[in-house]
Amino acid sequence: MSNGAARSNNVLVVGGGVAGMQAALDVANQGYKVYLVEKAPSIGGRMAALDKTFPTLDCSACILTPRLSEVARHPNIELLTYSEVQSVEGSLGDFTVRVLRKARYVREDRCSGCGDCARECPVEVPNEFDEFLGFRKAIYVMFPQSTPNVYTIDAEHCIRCKRCERVCERGAIDFDMQDEIVELKVGVVVLSVGYKLFDVRQYPRLGYGHHRNVITAMEFERLINAAGPTKGHLIRLSDGRMPKRIGFIQCVGARDVKKGVPNCSRVCCMYGIKNAVMAREHYPDAEVTVYYADIRAFGKGFEEFYEMAKTRFGVKFIKGRVGEIVEDPETANLQFYVEDTLSGEILDVEHDMIVLCPGLQPAEDLDKLAEMLGLETSTDGYIETRDAFAAPLETNHPGILVCGCADGPKDIPDSVTAGSAAAMKATILLSSGGAK
């Protein structure tokens, strides 16, 4: 594996979502060492929190878990979770990376993930993994299949009662643990930092944050998830009742120049349709309506799924932008006007629950990362790539590659594909034509 051109044959992958995991695996499978840095306590990214996936309705966590174990057990992959890249210096073949390993206060080498500590912990904290709809303890794993299967103490909420320390049979709790900086030498850097969802509060007329039964698509995912806060029971947040008339609103924070999100987010039409189908699956007699601008079902099997949503699942589709959503103070039902642009009619509708489908935006702090690495970004904030045909994953900085949503919104298969492609480019750079 040695060659003169590159001083380090290791690869750094930043971000342990589905794209980063794929990149790491495809590099590692070719015999190169990979450091996979993830800022959350577990790898898995967004996909871990999704319920089902379009267009096959595969259970997201179920298809993801084998990937998680594959990454965790790969002899060529070193996982650095709960860690953040602080700086990257150098050039292709010779990068020096400083990574902040945040203190978990739980020793990874000792914790077996048994959960005795969490059962003992008296502090309950709204669970960010469940979009704050449920609770977790101050010592926690993000989700049952968390990888590595190691608990983390949330220092912000921990009251230092040390009950976890007393109950842990393996002596894994370590309150003296400190943040540390590790220095890595790598030849290539792959950025797979994902995305953030548009903050739907930027549309005050849609009432999110004021009307309890207006929720986001991610909240919907957690509500219908069997491992979620309601064990998969789809209920209204206002009164815990089953919603009978559910509306989905598309393009919330996408294709809107005024909100600084001029582009289409590629995934919302399909996740919106998928969620609409799931709503009908949960409550076959519920009335489910999708309000859309254009239905962009462009990937393999997508159009067919859209057709099935209309015909087999009886989801209603209305082309039109909805007006201001008003909450009925008695029932907490939601009322609004919408122009059905196909019939030209103004409709006065009422729903029990409204699900807003936000668009995707560049990951939190992507601008800072880009600045630190000297990478060019596009006007909408994603990393700019060199050439769509000749170098679609290469940034202006030789040896720094992108995949997944780092250079623009992508769905799961496109992210996985880009992850594999980034791995190919990385190993070409490292091998300099050597077949080992």
Binding site: Q30, R67, D407, T417
Partner: protein
């Protein structure tokens, strides 16, 4: 059946969160299982696939000296490899593991009958326990990998994959059926993004491929024969004139056979006027500084486009899919051409300008006053040709008005469909196809580039309709799959294969003809010759064993004894329950 250790079976019943436990009484299933013969440990657990569940199996193997493991959870399709690995880590042979599907086969399909579902779950677990007691260790086999890749198709995807693999240091054999490389892209005048010609985009790639020391190119040739198994394939390449034929050995294959632009006969008067062309035909017309009418060479003043021609047609086989590339291609062509014509019109169903930079083009077209008019799929536009004049009539749903337009040039955005010889390719490489006619990936979400045939990858439009820049990323990804295989140098193969007992074989050849994978031949070194299974090619389907009149074939891991024990456990539960060890 030879020396036998007393089976010591552990049963692990998974809740799968609420997925199984919401319907099936998993605690009861685990409790019942503890009474089955040879079961020495039984429990239920929230997520067996999670690290904690895996750790539980390893711990209990040691603690109870388990030598068989049954996990009652989900479909083995996803997690059998996970649990096989876990029992291996616990010190057992991977074939001493048995999985019961309590999710897809029980809880999800009997959601409203929890009682009956629980009974069924208990039955299935009892059967699995009976089978587990009879499972046997099988050897773990590996085969070496020939460090060379065959790429079928010399379009933009095939070229990219070839360059990546060769740049990585491995040999490539590239086969293209046309006389020259470059596929569709080389013929096109306007690429997105940017505004280069196809020639400008792909020309440098072709040059590099032609001069690369590790790439051998066969143009005007086809793969006519294909045989072998992962790591060890043999392809026969024949020139189209039939004059030369060569055999090459390869370890991996990338199928990048692309698409055919649908010729929309019977749609919108296509064929009735030279001025009605497809988008592909427009792309192949000379650069647009000079857009002339094909019929008489006069400048085009009014141009119109119609979208979704042969795409998005529910119930029409092979035309139900969205062709993905056309909305943007139409918006771009319309925006580009708007300056050279007096009027430009686009008739559409939905505008699917989904990618980065697509909306800018869409907006640019609208800013330039390209007219976008939406029609309903149930009410398609009518196009007639009268005395050489093209007349379009349609109902604009947004304006709720009947409209009419007479373009000089009508461009039909026709579908991407598979090439004519797609079925041949599918058969050659044992690939399956989906409703869109293109090849099925191994998994539509997480394994979009590999296929169900180990060692064979798909890239570009061979997998589904997409544009050129997306095909390039596919190609690099598929190349990574190939190089992962080549760099390892060897690969494990399944041991769940057919085994012939030479003493019982009557040399009748039934199995040779029955085998769908060509895995069985006659071993002529024996007298009389007997059937011989090439294990790396065998998929363990059992067709041969079912057909063998002499019962000479045993399916390893699915022996008669193992299967009948399950039937017995189902039909005569009293015999196999009760807790007493036989």
């Amino acid at each position: 059946m030879g020396e036998k250790e007393q089976p010591r079976i552990g049963v692990f019943v998974c809740h799968c969160g609420h997925n199984i436990a919401g319907t099936v009484d998993v605690e009861r299933v685990a409790k019942e299982a503890s009474k089955f013969p040879n079961v020495v440990f039984s429990t239920d657990e929230m997520f067996m696939c999670a690290d904690s569940g895996q750790e539980l199996i390893r711990t209990k193997i040691k603690e109870f000296g388990l030598n068989r493991v049954v996990v009652a959870s989900c479909s083995p399709r996803m997690h059998e490899p996970t649990f096989r690995r876990v029992v291996e880590e616990g010190g057992l042979n991977r074939y001493l593991f048995e999985q019961v599907n309590l999710r897809e086969h029980v809880s999800w399909c009997h959601m409203h009958q929890p009682e009956a579902a629980t009974e069924k779950a208990i039955d299935l677990v009892r059967m699995a326990v009976a089978r587990a007691a009879r499972l046997e260790s099988l050897p773990i086999k590996t085969v070496s990998v020939i460090p060379r890749t065959l790429i079928v198709g010399g379009g933009i995807a095939g070229l990219r994959a070839a360059l990546d693999i060769a740049d990585r240091g491995f040999e490539v054999v590239l086969v293209e059926k046309a006389p020259r490389l470059g596929g569709h892209v080389i013929k096109w005048t306007h690429m997105f993004p940017g505004d280069r010609t196809g020639e400008q985009v792909i020309g440098p790639m072709i040059e590099r491929v032609m001069s690369h020391p590790r790439i051998t190119v066969y143009t005007d040739s086809k793969v006519v024969g294909f045989d072998g198994y992962i790591g060890n394939f043999e392809a026969t390449i024949r020139s189209n004139d039939g004059k030369s034929e060569e055999k090459v050995e390869v370890g991996a294959v990338i199928v990048a056979t692309g698409f055919k632009a649908f010729k929309p006969k019977g749609y919108y008067a296509y064929g009735e006027s030279p001025n009605i062309v497809t988008l592909e035909e427009l792309q192949e017309m000379p650069r647009r500084d000079d857009l002339l009418r094909p019929s008489d060479g006069k400048p085009v003043k009014r141009i119109a486009f119609i979208g979704c021609v042969g795409s998005r047609e529910p119930g029409v086989k092979g035309h139900e899919h969205c062709s993905r590339y056309c909305c943007l291609a139409v918006a771009k062509a319309a925006a580009d051409l708007r300056d050279r014509v007096e009027e430009a019109l686009v008739l559409y169903q939905d505008v699917r300008t989904y990618g980065r930079g697509h909306e800018e083009i869409h907006r640019l077209a609208r800013e330039k006053r390209v007219i976008f008019s939406k029609f309903e799929p149930s009410e398609k536009p009518r196009v007639t040709v009268e005395k050489g004049k093209i007349i379009m009539e349609w109902h604009d749903v947004l304006a709720d008005d009947n409209l009419r337009f007479e373009p000089d040039l009508l461009v039909l955005a026709s579908a991407m469909v598979p090439p004519d010889d797609v079925e041949e390719t599918a058969n050659l490489f044992s690939l399956t196809r989906s409703g869109d006619g293109f090849f099925n990936p191994e998994h539509i979400k997480l394994a979009p580039l590999t296929t169900h045939t180990a060692g064979i990858m798909i890239a570009g439009v061979a997998q589904a309709a997409k544009n050129a820049s997306e095909s390039v990323v596919d190609a690099s990804g598929a190349a990574a799959k190939a190089t992962s295989l080549l760099a390892k140098g060897e690969v494990e193969i399944e041991s769940t294969v057919a085994h012939v007992d030479p003493e019982l074989c009557s040399s009748c050849h039934t199995c040779v003809t029955a085998c769908p994978y060509g895995a069985i031949s006659m071993d002529n070194s024996r007298d009389p010759p007997v059937a011989l299974v090439t294990e790396a090619k065998c998929h363990g389907c059992g067709t041969c064993a079912a057909g063998c009149p002499s019962a000479a074939i045993t399916m390893l891991h699915s022996t008669d004894d193992q299967i009948l024990s399950m039937v017995e456990a189902l039909l005569m539960p009293a015999m196999t329950s009760g807790g007493e060890v036989q």
